[in-house]
């Protein structure tokens, strides 16, 4: 479902040598996979996530999403794909303040033109186990709960792929386990989950680990332990 061919992305800061954030990256992720992209900070994994999430364009290379060339889409088409096909989960949750859990979950539905937005957002909150917190303001929830609201927001439009950028980076171990379990559950229901992390332990939960270093794929292997555990 996701195919990257020779992606290159270079950042040029003034008075500094150019940084190759992506250096001819090629990889393929199939529908329903649970993949971890593992790398230290500065390895280019965030750039990879931004390009895969259609928030950023590669300088060169091809990106096929569900068989369609995504790197040539117009700005409006990109927005549409982000809205329907991709769900984002961020390290800092990015919930809107002074806005309830329910309203936060409804954000993507504003751009989706669906009449049943109340039912959908209710169902998404129920799926993450926060049905009874829907009228709480974001800042009234714990970190783990906030991230669950963010996940509910990511799945409310039923995307085929979930991009989670350090989703447990700000959480304690209990919440981390909850979030990982939640992502696994969603994956088990068929959603492709891509977990971007620098944390070996988190990456270990995935069936496949892609290691990134200096903008290039260093290793791409099945995680035997987790894969075996799931099967």
């Amino acid at each position: 479902m996701i195919e990257l061919r020779n992606l290159v992305k270079t950042y040029q800061k003034p008075k500094e040598p150019p940084v190759k954030a992506l250096d001819h990256v090629s990889l393929k992720i199939e529908q329903g996979e649970l993949v971890a992209i593992l790398g230290p900070s500065g390895s280019g994994k965030s750039t990879l996530m931004n390009v895969m999430g259609l928030l950023d364009r590669p300088d060169s290379g091809e990106y096929l999403l569900n068989g369609r060339a995504a790197h040539v889409l117009s700005e409006d088409e990109l927005a549409r794909v982000r809205n329907r096909v991709i769900g984002f989960v961020f390290q800092q949750y990015h919930l809107l303040p002074r806005t309830t859990a329910m309203e936060n979950v409804q954000l993507p539905l504003l751009y989706a033109d669906r009449k049943d937005y109340d039912q959908r957002s209710r169902a998404a909150l129920a799926a993450v186990g926060l049905a009874e917190r829907m009228s709480h303001f974001a800042e009234e929830l714990s970190g783990g709960q906030q991230q669950r609201v963010a996940i509910a927001r990511a799945i409310v439009n039923e995307p085929s792929v979930l991009l989670a950028d350090e989703p447990t980076g700000n959480l304690d171990s209990t919440s981390t386990r909850e979030i990982i379990d939640l992502l696994k559950t969603l994956n088990a229901k068929g959603t492709t989950v891509i977990l971007i992390t620098h944390d070996r332990e988190v990456a270990d939960q995935a069936n496949r680990i892609i290691r990134i270093r200096d903008g290039a794929v260093e290793a791409d292997e099945l995680n035997v332990r987790a894969a075996g555990g799931v099967e």
Binding site: G53, D76, R80, F88, H94, L96, L110
Partner: protein
């Protein structure tokens, strides 16, 4: 975009960030308030002025005044009742009313003394000058013919001379000449110079000319024309008759003047056009300031909402969607703020009217609906001008940068 969700989102945001909403709208509220209030005040003054003019210079009338110059008096007074009678009989004018003004006179009534403007009119004044008696009766043709000692007094005069009682039937002394009060004149307020028109005494002009000042000279006369389209023609004929009777030679100046409603309307237009321009300038300025206020508050607001805008983009907002959302937000503020301005203007014009009414006898004009609509329209335009640029900036934000 999902419109019902969009409006909910905007309404919630405005309600939750009340202070920002209020500050953003304040400029527009003040602008609408100032514009509507100034316009109402101007209209009230103009209406009052117009009703004064219409009473003194009726639309279908010609006002003849002794002496040259606009308000008369530049030359020796020279207008006799026979002049006017000749004019009306040769032109077939049926309705007309002469006037003799003698200025303030001492009025005595038992212990009370007052200084009151006295003028003489005919019984036709009631119709020609649209002022009847609000109490008692107007004097009759017979009373004018027989030089009866009857008087109509203004409501201010009535209050001064007869505190607490009805003046009708009582007697007063004008320069020690006794008169019987027949009625109280309809209250008309203050003239454009601030003179109280209700501090007046009207008596038959015949009586005035014979017993009070012993003159044959009129101050003027108002003639009613049946066919206003012939006004210019009639004005020429009147001029010709009077010049002949007064034996004014070729090239010599008239010793009378004729004022028409047309010339009064021109004067009025001149007087008020400056004020109208002034109000437009003020309105333009306050709305410009309101636009700048909105622009700067929105700019700051957008800066503070960078993460939100980045997030919305990540979640599927197109640049256009963000623009629409932000512009609608500002327009909604502009609408609410301008409605608040209208409500305040309604309250304010009540206060203003009572103040102007007390000082200048100005009556409150009905709300200037067109100006109100224009003010709301201008407010929306202001919102659009103030909101568009920040909205475009927001729409261009790079989501990767914005989410950092």
């Amino acid at each position: 975009m999902n419109l019902s969700l969009l409006f909910k989102t905007i309404a919630r945001r405005l309600a939750r960030f009340k202070l920002k909403t209020i500050f953003m709208g304040l400029g527009i509220t003040v602008a609408v308030l100032a514009t509507v209030l100034l316009q109402t005040a101007l209209m009230s003054v103009e209406n009052t002025f117009a009703s004064f003019v219409n009473r003194n210079y009726p639309a279908n009338g010609l006002v003849l005044m002794t002496g040259s110059g606009f308000m008369g008096g530049a030359t020796r007074a020279n207008l006799e009742i026979s002049d006017v009678e000749t004019v009306v009989s040769s032109l077939g004018i049926k309705q007309w009313d002469p006037v003799v003004m003698v200025g303030p006179r001492d009025i005595k009534q038992e212990g009370n003394i007052a200084l009151v403007n006295v003028a003489g009119y005919s019984e036709q004044a009631e119709v020609v000058r649209s002022r009847s008696a609000q109490e008692g009766e107007f004097f009759t043709a017979e009373e004018v013919r027989s030089r009866a000692h009857v008087a109509l007094i203004g409501s201010t005069t009535a209050r001064d001379l007869f505190p607490g009682g009805s003046p009708v039937g009582a007697s007063i002394f004008i320069d020690n000449v006794p008169f019987t009060v027949k009625g109280v004149l309809e209250t008309t307020g203050v003239d454009p110079h601030g003179g109280d028109q209700d501090n007046a005494i009207w008596i038959p002009y015949t009586t005035l000319m014979e017993s009070l000042v012993k003159t044959t000279q009129l101050s003027g006369a108002t003639l009613i024309i049946d066919d206003p389209s012939r006004r210019d023609e009639i004005q020429k004929e009147v001029t010709q008759i009077l010049r002949e009777r007064h034996q004014i030679g070729e090239g010599q100046q008239d010793d009378f003047s004729i004022v028409t409603p047309v010339s009064m309307a021109q004067l009025r237009g001149k007087m008020f056009s400056t004020w109208k321009l002034f109000i437009r300038l003020i309105a333009g300025t306050v709305f410009l300031v309101a636009a700048i206020v909105i622009l700067s508050i929105m700019q700051i607001s957008i800066k503070g909402r960078t993460a939100e805008i980045g997030l919305r983009k990540a979640l599927g907002a197109r640049p256009r969607d963000l623009q629409i959302q932000i512009v609608l937000e500002v327009l909604l503020v502009a609408l609410i703020a301008s409605l608040a301005g209208l409500v305040l203007a309604k309250i304010g014009s009540g206060f203003l009217a009572s103040m102007l009414g007390e000082k200048f006898g100005v009556k409150e004009a009905s709300p200037p609906v067109l100006v109100m609509l224009a003010a709301v329209g201008l407010a929306m335009l202001t919102g659009l001008v103030g909101g568009l640029w920040p909205a475009r900036r927001a729409a261009r934000l790079n989501p990767v940068q914005a989410l950092k």
